[in-house]
């Protein structure tokens, strides 16, 4: 089949306004975008750059509270979408333009079988009969390498795994053989090992049907695998656009270069201090939630003063449960946690104020970790007041000191509320709250995974600086091996509630590995555009699904 390379989507001078509750402010400030048939364009940028808004606009859709400004032009296959009627636009969606959302679990209706949701669009547009549509669905499931393609569609969304559901959603987007698919961060919520199968499946199927795609992501390594061209966005404006190879080898703009350089932060590895007991020692811990399912199985590791221990693994591997055992939220069924050689009471309710003070936590979602109705001064001041009994000017002085420590200007932030801050600032407040207790040990639970790369790097550098200034020990829970590489001294790899490997970082990143560590390491996308192709060849395409299900 000769592949048609004509222009499919032509967006000119796209301007979109958002309503703040008082006035309309521009979100997209004049972006041009031209997409040919069969071309995959990657849109990258920080959150708030307008990636998803442009993705929605490509379907002629403006979300609630936004509007497309007059004078913008969105031409899809010769049809002007900005002036088309709602009915005409709706006829395109689902049949000629499809959309794959970030969270497949939230986008599927849990009350209907997957295949019934799949066949809804073809039946609605009277493209196929129900039987034909179901057969086509099974064919697509096979092409996307879903296990048991003839049967999987008859399950409900909660009966399949996250990665499988994301592939089923891609299959659903393909149901009417659209000309254009918009992928809005389709793998962001997935583990690295699962991400690979979804990426490979998406890339294959887009290639097979000569479908054009807009691939929205903030992960450069992912976009390098998927896209033919990359467009970098910043605050609603285009920074630059180039083919993937050119963009990776020779970025023109400073902003793009800074994005590329983020992963270079790395600090020197520290050695264990000798002659003193570890700050935290987890010894042969077993733990189970009510219901009896064992989630931790004989977990042991030590964390020494001034060191960072990274605990890595997929979701469900027991990383966060280990943190809950250490903090005392989940008493272990056997085993114990020692603090400087002294056993800690299993439940936080029985721990002394001083024991509670020594162990602090920083959470993944700063949004839910900070009370939105309490001023910053009280959020940070409360631990100081609670543990050290400070009040009045002494307390204010301490809060100012802490705000200085996290590099926020005290006078500006003292009286503000968390919702008024950006994600990175909120995370800094979370750090300040932990520091206010003057702890010796801090658990960082995925602290950077909800943040943009540049902001995340700032947080990592801050944590690193605080560690050397205050001699803190960190337990760093993460699934991102790039973070591990930059900040960890020692690494603990967990799988299914067991520790499969542990040791100093340098040794962990050197072969030979435990097979699971190897799988984790090799699954982290690299900036090389041929990385995915090479990896798939190396692993053998057919067993990729099995490899990830280990």
């Amino acid at each position: 089949m000769a592949q048609d390379k004509s222009v499919l989507l032509d967006i000119k001078d796209l301007r979109i306004d958002g309503y703040t509750g008082e006035e309309w402010v521009p979100i997209i400030k004049g972006v041009d975008l031209r997409l040919h048939r069969g071309e995959v364009m990657g849109l990258i940028g920080e959150s708030g750059a307008g990636k998803s808004t442009i993705g929605a606009a490509a379907m002629g859709y403006a979300r609630d509270g936004t509007r497309i400004v007059e004078g913008s032009s969105i031409e899809f296959d010769g049809m002007e979408l900005t002036t088309a009627t709602e009915g005409e636009r709706r006829a395109l969606r689902g049949s000629r333009i499809a959309y794959v959302a970030q969270s497949a679990a939230a986008s599927f209706n849990p009350a209907h079988k997957i295949i019934d949701q799949h066949t809804e669009a073809p039946l609605h547009y009277r493209i196929q009969s129900r039987v034909a549509a179901q057969e086509d669905a099974m064919d697509l499931y096979q092409r996307l390498r879903l296990p048991d393609p003839d049967q999987i569609g008859f399950r409900y969304p909660h009966q399949v795994s996250g990665g499988q559901l994301q592939r089923a959603m891609t299959a659903m987007a393909m149901a009417c053989r659209p000309d254009l698919i918009i992928f809005d961060e389709p793998t962001t919520a997935l583990d690295v090992t699962t991400q690979i199968e979804v990426l490979a499946a998406i890339r294959d199927i887009v290639d097979q049907f000569n479908t054009a795609a807009i691939y929205i992501t903030h992960d450069l390594a992912v976009v390098a695998q998927m896209a033919d061209t990359i467009k970098v966005l910043l605050k609603g404006e285009e920074v630059e656009q180039a083919s993937t190879e050119d963009m990776l080898e020779n970025p023109q703009e400073d902003y793009t270069k800074s994005l590329w350089a983020v992963r270079s932060f790395k600090r020197t590895q520290k050695r264990r201090p000798t002659g003193e007991p570890p700050v935290i020692s987890v010894q042969n811990v077993d733990a189970a939630y009510t219901g009896g399912i064992k989630v931790l199985d004989d977990v042991s590791f030590d964390i020494h003063r001034g060191m960072t221990v990274a605990v890595v693994g997929e979701s469900g591997s027991g990383k966060s449960t280990t943190a809950r055992v250490i903090t005392g939220l989940l008493p272990p069924t056997s085993g114990q946690v020692l603090f400087r050689g002294e056993p800690l009471p299993p439940s936080y309710l029985n721990r002394s104020k001083d024991q509670l003070r020594q162990t602090q936590m920083i959470y993944q979602m700063a949004d839910t970790a900070l009370n939105p109705k309490v001023r910053i001064s009280e959020i940070i001041g409360r631990p100081a007041q609670f543990y050290s009994g400070l009040s009045g000017t002494a307390l204010k002085h301490r809060v100012d000191e802490l705000l200085d420590l996290i590099e926020l200007e005290p006078s500006q932030y003292y009286d503000r509320y968390p919702p008024e801050l950006s994600g990175g600032q909120k995370q800094r407040i979370g750090i300040a709250r932990a520091l206010a207790a003057e702890p010796t040990f801090i658990i960082c639970d995925e602290v950077t995974s909800a943040l943009d790369q540049l902001v995340a790097e700032g947080i990592l550098k801050l944590l690193d600086r605080l560690q050397s200034e205050l001699d803190l020990a960190y337990m760093f829970i993460t699934h991102d091996l790039a973070t591990v590489r930059s900040i960890a001294d020692e690494v603990v790899v967990m799988q299914n509630g067991k520790v499969v490997e542990q040791g100093p970082k340098d040794e962990m990143f050197k072969p030979p590995h435990h097979p699971y560590t190897d799988l984790l390491l090799s699954s982290v996308p690299e900036m090389d555009p041929n990385w995915l192709t090479d990896l798939l060849e190396e692993r053998g395409v057919d067993n990729i699904g099995e490899a990830a299900d280990v």
Partner: protein, 354 residues
């Protein structure tokens, strides 16, 4: 054709033309369709119907004007942050606030506003309205207007204290249940179910016949009836807050239940609770009025809107509107409170994005 009819149509047409000229589509459509409907009404019902329509429209316009002025007044006197919120309030909400404000004034200053005493007999039974008695006399010849004013104090005061009592019991129990969880939560939940399974009016009648119709008995009985509803709502709202990471952080800090409830949970659940307060107030008010109507509420000669309806009920068969006045007072307050609550719910639910 009478002068009134000519004026009526002239005013309507001029107004619609002005609306059309200034490109106000909504008002234009309303005004012009009213003109067209008026043609039909005028032919069918004559000038009388048109007069009724005009009166109705005038009352509506008057209410809207008062609401608008009252909102602007509140915006000016309120602190800047609250003023900004008030600016976005719909006219219905400010109308509600105005009515509540008026009732409040009437209740507080009743002895100074009312021209006659609460139980002072000044005329013959069911005497019609005159200069001395704005709304006529009731079945014993007492001034209806004075009794309405005193009634605001008694009925509203009673309903308010009963609602506050119900909220104190329900909200504290709900917050504790959500924070403690476990068997305490289960126990409180089942206990609330038991209370809710008893028909409320029968329960109130039972309590009042056992302990006698004292004000305190009414307040406690009504509080017990409504506390489980408040409990359920509070527990559900607080339940969503309790699972947040900041609560976990506070627990791990070693904070006690008191601090958790007061500083962490309560500030995040006030909006739905305040809205619920308004709603429950209406229900309590109607229940208290209902009890009074049955003769078990506030006892005579104390003025109370519910019992005033009952006492004057016979007059309705003579086509007099006297018994409808206290009923109207109840209805107006209920509607007003609901207008304000609607606005609050709208604000706290995030529907304002559109």
């Amino acid at each position: 054709m009478s002068q009134f009819v000519i004026l009526y149509f002239a005013a309507l047409i001029v107004a619609s033309c002005l609306a059309a000229y200034y490109k106000k589509q909504g008002p234009f459509m309303t005004l012009f369709s009213l003109t067209l409907i008026s043609f039909v009404l005028g032919i069918v019902g004559g000038a009388g119907t048109l007069r009724l329509v005009a009166t109705f429209a005038a009352v509506l316009a008057f209410a809207a004007g008062v609401s608008y002025a009252f909102r602007e007044f509140l915006v000016v006197i309120a602190p800047t942050k609250l003023g900004k919120e008030l600016k976005t309030a719909p006219l219905t909400a400010s109308f509600g606030m105005f009515v509540i404000f008026t009732y409040g004034i009437a209740a507080i200053f009743a002895p100074w506003i009312a021209p006659h005493g609460e139980s002072e007999v000044i005329a013959s039974a069911f005497a019609p309205a005159d200069e001395n008695m704005l709304l006529g006399a009731d079945q014993l010849g007492r001034d209806m207007f004075s009794r309405i004013i005193y009634g605001a104090r008694n009925s509203v005061g009673l309903a308010l204290s009963a609602t506050i009592a119900a909220f104190a019991i329900g909200a504290i129990a709900g917050l504790l249940a959500a924070t403690k969880g476990g068997w305490f939560d289960q126990f409180m939940g089942r206990f609330a179910d038991v209370i809710m399974s008893i028909p409320s009016l029968i329960f109130a009648l039972l309590m009042l016949s056992i302990f006698g119709p004292h004000v305190y008995v009414i307040i406690i009985a009504v509080a017990i009836i409504y506390a489980p509803r408040v409990f359920r709502l509070t527990r559900a709202v607080a339940g969503n807050v309790v699972v947040m990471d900041y609560i976990e952080a506070a627990k791990l800090r070693g904070e006690g239940t008191g601090y958790l409830i007061r500083r962490e949970i309560l500030p995040n659940s006030t909006a739905p609770l305040i809205a619920e307060f308004g709603l429950e107030f209406c229900f309590v008010f109607l229940l208290v009025a209902g009890l009074s109507f049955l003769g078990l509420g506030i006892q005579p000669p104390t003025a109370d809107w519910g019992s005033m309806v009952r006492e004057n009920a016979t007059l309705i068969s003579f086509g007099d509107y006297t018994p409808l006045i206290p009923a109207g007072a109840i209805a107006l307050l209920t509607v007003a409170v609901n207008f304000v609550v609607d606005w609050m719910l709208f604000r706290s639910s995030g529907l304002k994005e559109q």
